[in-house]
C-alpha cells in the first residue's frame, strides 16, 4: 500500500471520529472514500498489523497513538490547503477539497506552516476570526485523539503523552511551603505579562513563603516577595526541585 493511501485511510477514520459518535467500521470508511468495501477491509487489516489502528470484536476501528499522529498531521494539512485554495484563492469548495486531498500527501511541513501562517494573518485582516468556519478549523489546530482524550472508550488505553501525572507537578496553591520550586508554566491570561515582568517565567526557581487558608500566597521570586490572589496563584504550575 502506498503511503498516500495509508494516510487517506487514517484521515478518514479520524474525520469519522470527529464528526460522528459511533466508532466507524470498515464499511463506513469505504463509503467515505467511495471504494469497494472488501479492498478497504483488507487494507485496514494490514494497517492494524502495522500498529496504526485496532479493530474490536464488533469491527469498530480505533486509532492508536501512532495512527492518530499520522492522521492528525494529514488532516491539518488538508484543512490549511482547503482554506487557502477556497477562501484565499477563491476556488469552489469541493474543488478545493479535492485538490487538497491530492496535495496533502506530498507537501512539506515547512511549506504547509508558511501557508498556514499566511492564511492566519490574512484571515485576521479580513475579520474571519469573527465567524468563518474553515478559518476557525485551522486556527484551533489541535485535534483531540478520540482514544487518549477519553472521548471514546477505546480499546487501547494509552497514557496521555506529555501531561505527566507525576504528583510533584502542581499549581502553586497545592505546592509545599518553604522549598525551592521550579516554575513550569502559567495558564493565566490578562495578568500574564505582569507575572513575566516580575520574573515568574518557566524555569525560574521560586519559593512559596506563605499560604493563607484562602489560598492567597506570598511567593519569593528573584529575592523579592510578591503577594498573589488565589485565582492567580492557581494558574502558576510548579514542580518540586529534585
Amino acid at each position: 500500500m502506498e503511503s498516500s493511501e495509508r494516510e487517506d485511510y487514517l484521515e478518514a477514520v479520524l474525520v469519522r471520529y470527529l464528526t460522528a459518535q459511533p466508532p466507524p467500521s470498515a464499511k463506513d470508511v469505504a463509503k467515505d472514500l467511495s471504494q469497494a468495501e472488501d479492498t478497504v477491509s483488507a487494507d485496514l487489516k494490514s494497517l492494524e498489523k502495522q500498529g496504526d489502528l485496532v479493530f474490536d470484536e464488533k469491527g469498530a476501528i480505533s486509532l492508536t497513538v501512532q495512527g492518530h499522529t499520522i492522521a492528525e498531521r494529514v488532516l491539518k494539512k488538508h484543512r490549511v490547503l482547503q482554506c487557502f485554495l477556497g477562501e484565499i484563492l477563491g476556488m469552489e469548495d469541493h474543488a478545493a477539497s479535492d485538490e487538497a486531498c491530492v496535495l496533502e500527501h506530498s507537501i512539506s511541513d515547512t511549506a504547509i506552516n508558511r501557508i498556514g501562517d499566511y492564511v492566519k494573518s490574512a484571515g485576521l485582516r479580513r475579520g474571519w476570526h469573527r465567524g468563518n468556519t474553515s478559518y476557525h478549523r485551522i486556527i484551533n489546530n489541535s485535534i483531540p485523539n478520540p482514544v487518549t482524550s477519553g472521548l471514546v472508550p477505546g480499546i487501547h488505553k494509552v497514557p496521555p503523552v506529555g501531561t505527566s501525572s507525576d504528583p510533584v507537578c502542581c499549581s502553586l496553591i497545592d505546592a509545599t511551603e518553604s522549598v525551592p520550586l521550579a516554575v513550569i508554566g502559567i495558564t493565566g491570561g490578562e495578568y500574564l505579562h505582569r507575572l513575566i515582568d516580575l520574573g515568574v517565567i518557566p524555569g525560574e526557581v521560586v519559593i512559596l513563603k506563605r499560604r493563607l487558608h484562602n489560598n492567597a500566597v506570598v511567593l519569593q521570586v528573584k529575592e523579592c516577595d510578591i503577594a498573589l490572589s488565589p485565582e492567580i496563584a492557581g494558574t502558576i504550575l510548579v514542580e518540586k526541585m529534585r
Binding site: D117, H193, R194, D197, P202, N214, K222, L228, S229, I232
Partner: protein
C-alpha cells in the same frame, strides 16, 4: 533640558526626586493626569533643569496607564536624559526594566540606590564592573541617608551617555525585528514592542503578528515570553558578574508574624484602631486650640470692627472657610498622615493588603483596596485619590462608593461631639457598626451588579524598613499641602456662598420649606436638617451650624436623644463633602459622582427615616 527618573516601584525614586529638587525650589504638581507625573525644576550651575518623577513600573510592555505614559515619553524622545534608579539589593529584577529602557538610546545615568541596605545584607555590587558592562556611568547612593545623591546631577550632566549593552535575543526574534525594521520606519524598541503585540500602527501590528505567529508555532512560546526570558536571563548573568556575597537572611523574620492569619489579623486590627484613637485624641485637642485662637484673634476683632453687614458677612464667611480647612487639616488629617506615612514607609500596608485579600474578595475588590479604605478614616479626599492604585475600573467604581462611606475624621468629630457626649459612648460605637454593615452590604451588592472582569492581586511586598522621622514628616507635609490646595479654595468659596444665602434669608426660607419633611419623615427639627446642608461644605461644619441654629451648645436641651442619634447618623452617611465630590469627579467622571452622591443621600435619608419609624 528635561531629565526623567525611571525605575521599579519602591526603589526610592520619589525620595531622590525630592532631594534633587530639594528645598526652596518649586515642585509643581500636575493634577488631572491619571497617573500623577510630577515635575520639578532645579538650578545647577546657572542652568535650569526640569526633572520628572515618572511612575514606578516593572516593564515598558504592559498596558497600564503608567507603562504607556513612560513608554510614550521614551518613544517620542521627550526626555533629554534618563536617570535609571536601580535597587542594589534586587539588582537582577531591576536590570530587567533597565535593559528595556536602554534600547531607546537616550543618554543614561545608572543610580544604584539602597547601597546601605545591600551592605547590611552582605551584598556588594561592583559598580565599576557594572558600568563597564552597561556602557554608561553608574553611581552608588543611599538616598534614605542622603548619601551620594549630591553626585547624581553633576555625574548625569558630565558623563551620561547611551548604554552600549544590548540583550542578545533569540535569533528568530532578531530576524523578526530586522524584518520589521526593513518594512517600517520605526526604532528598534518600537519594533520589539510590536512583535509583542503592542503599538499604535495597525499595519505594522498585523505584519508583526504574522511573524509572531510563526515564531510561536516553532518555539511553542510567544515572542513576548521569549523576549522577557532573554532579558531575565541576561539580567541574571549581569547581576551574577557584579554581585559578590550572598544575601544574608535575618535570623528573625517579622513577616512570619505579620502575614499569618493569627496573629497577623489581630495585629492589623490593633494597629488600625490604635491609630484612629490616637489621631482622634490628639486631633480634638489641637482643634480646640485652633478654633479658640481663630475666635479670639480673628473672628472677635472682626466683629468688633463694626463693618457694614454685607461686608461683615462676607469676611466672616472667608474666615469660617479658613478655619474649617485649618481646623480639620492640621489636627486630624496631618496627624493621621503621619501615622499613615509611618505605615507606608515601613511597608506594613502591603502586609495588611495581603491579609485583607480574602475579605475584600467578598465585596468585589482585592487586597490592595484596603489601602483607600484605611486612608478614608483620615480624610476621604486623599482616599479617593488613592483608588487609582486599583487595577480595574470595576474595582475603582466599587471603591468610590465604599471609600466615601467610611467615616472620615470630620465625621468622627460629629459622632463624638453629638452621640458620645449626649447619648452615650456605646451608641457612638454603634454608628461605626451600622456604617460598617452598610459598607459590607453595599460592597456585596455592587460586586454582584458591577460589570467588568475581576483582576487578581499581584503586589510586590517590599521588605520591612524602619521609617525615617524626617521623611515621614516631609511626606505628610507634601500630602497635606496637596489636600490644602484642592480643598481650601473650595471651602472658602462655598463658605462665602452659604454666608450670602444666609444673609439674603435663603437659609431661613429653606428651613421653613423643609419643615414638614424634616419632622414627619426624619423626626428631627427643621433647623437640624438645615444644619445638615452645611455638612456638604465640610462634614464637621454641620455640627457647628447645628449649635448656632439651635442657639445653644447644650443640644440635649433642645433635641431628644433619638433625634440627636438620627441626626448624627444621617450626617455621617449622606452626601460626601464638596471636596470629595470634586476629587471624585476628577478621578472617576461625572456619572460615578452622581451615582455615589445620589446613593449616599438616599441611604442617609432611608436610615434616618428608618430610625424615626422604629422609635417615633
Amino acid at each position: 533640558m528635561k531629565i526623567g527618573l525611571i525605575g521599579n516601584p519602591n526603589v526610592g525614586k520619589s525620595l531622590i526626586f525630592n532631594q534633587l529638587t530639594g528645598l526652596g525650589v518649586e515642585v509643581s504638581n500636575y493634577p488631572g493626569t491619571t497617573v500623577g507625573l510630577e515635575t520639578g525644576h532645579v538650578c545647577y550651575q546657572r542652568e535650569k533643569f526640569e526633572i520628572c518623577d515618572l511612575p514606578g513600573i516593572y516593564s515598558l510592555d504592559g498596558d497600564s496607564d503608567e507603562e504607556k505614559l513612560v513608554n510614550g515619553m521614551l518613544e517620542r524622545h521627550e526626555l533629554d536624559l534618563v536617570i535609571a534608579i536601580l535597587d542594589a539589593v534586587h539588582l537582577e529584577r531591576n536590570l530587567y526594566l533597565f535593559f528595556q529602557v536602554a534600547e531607546y538610546g537616550l543618554p543614561l545615568l545608572v543610580v544604584l540606590n539602597m547601597a546601605d541596605e545591600a551592605e547590611k545584607s552582605g551584598i556588594s555590587v561592583d559598580s565599576q564592573e557594572l558600568s563597564k558592562i552597561l556602557g554608561c556611568p553608574v553611581i552608588m547612593t543611599a538616598a534614605i541617608h542622603g548619601r551620594g545623591t549630591g553626585q547624581i546631577l553633576p555625574s548625569a550632566l558630565s558623563s551620561a551617555c547611551p548604554a552600549t549593552v544590548t540583550v542578545g535575543y533569540d535569533h528568530h526574534i532578531e530576524a523578526a525585528v530586522r524584518s520589521i525594521l526593513g518594512n517600517f520606519p520605526v526604532s528598534r524598541p518600537v519594533a520589539i514592542l510590536s512583535l509583542e503585540g503592542i503599538g499604535a500602527d495597525q499595519e505594522m501590528l498585523d505584519s508583526s503578528a504574522a511573524i509572531a505567529n510563526e515564531i510561536e508555532n516553532r518555539h511553542k512560546m510567544s515572542p513576548r515570553q521569549i523576549i522577557s526570558a532573554n532579558r531575565h536571563h541576561f539580567a541574571e548573568l549581569v547581576a551574577g558578574r557584579v554581585i559578590t556575597g550572598r544575601q544574608k537572611k535575618p535570623g528573625f523574620d517579622l513577616d512570619r508574624l505579620l502575614t499569618k492569619g493569627i496573629p497577623g489579623i489581630p495585629i492589623m486590627a490593633a494597629i488600625l484602631i490604635g491609630i484612629l484613637l490616637v489621631v482622634f485624641t490628639i486631633g480634638s485637642w489641637l482643634e480646640g486650640i485652633i478654633v479658640a485662637l481663630f475666635t479670639t484673634y480673628l473672628v472677635e476683632p472682626l466683629l468688633a470692627l463694626g463693618l457694614p453687614p454685607l461686608l461683615q458677612q462676607l469676611s466672616i464667611s472667608v474666615l469660617l472657610g479658613l478655619q474649617a480647612g485649618i481646623g480639620i487639616a492640621f489636627p486630624f488629617i496631618f496627624t493621621f498622615y503621619i501615622f499613615i506615612s509611618i505605615l507606608e514607609d515601613s511597608g506594613y500596608l502591603t502586609r495588611a493588603a495581603f491579609l485583607a485579600d480574602q475579605a475584600m474578595h467578598r465585596i468585589g475588590m482585592h487586597g490592595q483596596a484596603i489601602i483607600p479604605l484605611i486612608l478614608g478614616f483620615g480624610c476621604t479626599v486623599p482616599a479617593v485619590m488613592s483608588i487609582r492604585l486599583l487595577a480595574s475600573r470595576r474595582e475603582r467604581f466599587i471603591a468610590s462608593f465604599l471609600v466615601t462611606m467610611v467615616p472620615c475624621s470630620a465625621r468622627t468629630v460629629i459622632i463624638a461631639g453629638v452621640v458620645a457626649t449626649f447619648v452615650g459612648i456605646w451608641w457612638a460605637l454603634s454608628i461605626y457598626l451600622i456604617v460598617f454593615i452598610l459598607v459590607v452590604l453595599t460592597g456585596l451588592f455592587l460586586s454582584r451588579i458591577t460589570p467588568g472582569e475581576q483582576f487578581g492581586m499581584i503586589m510586590e511586598m517590599a521588605p520591612l524598613r524602619a521609617p525615617q522621622a524626617a521623611n515621614v514628616v516631609k511626606k505628610s507635609w507634601r500630602k497635606i499641602s496637596e489636600f490644602l490646595t484642592i480643598a481650601m479654595p473650595l471651602l472658602i468659596i462655598s463658605s462665602v456662598i452659604l454666608g450670602l444665602l444666609q444673609y439674603y434669608g435663603v437659609i431661613s426660607a429653606f428651613t421653613n420649606f423643609i419643615e414638614p419633611f424634616s419632622m414627619r419623615v426624619l423626626g428631627i427639627p427643621a433647623y437640624a436638617t438645615t444644619a445638615l446642608m452645611f455638612g456638604i461644605l465640610r462634614k464637621e461644619m454641620a455640627l457647628g451650624a447645628l449649635v448656632v441654629l439651635a442657639g445653644t451648645p447644650a443640644l440635649n436641651t433642645v433635641m431628644t436623644q433619638v433625634q440627636l442619634y438620627t441626626w448624627a447618623i444621617i450626617s455621617v452617611l449622606f452626601v460626601p463633602c464638596i471636596s470629595t465630590i470634586a476629587v471624585l469627579y476628577r478621578q472617576m467622571g461625572l456619572k460615578t459622582v452622581v451615582l455615589v452622591t445620589t446613593y449616599t443621600v438616599i441611604l442617609g435619608i432611608a436610615i434616618g427615616a428608618g430610625i424615626h419609624l422604629a422609635f417615633p
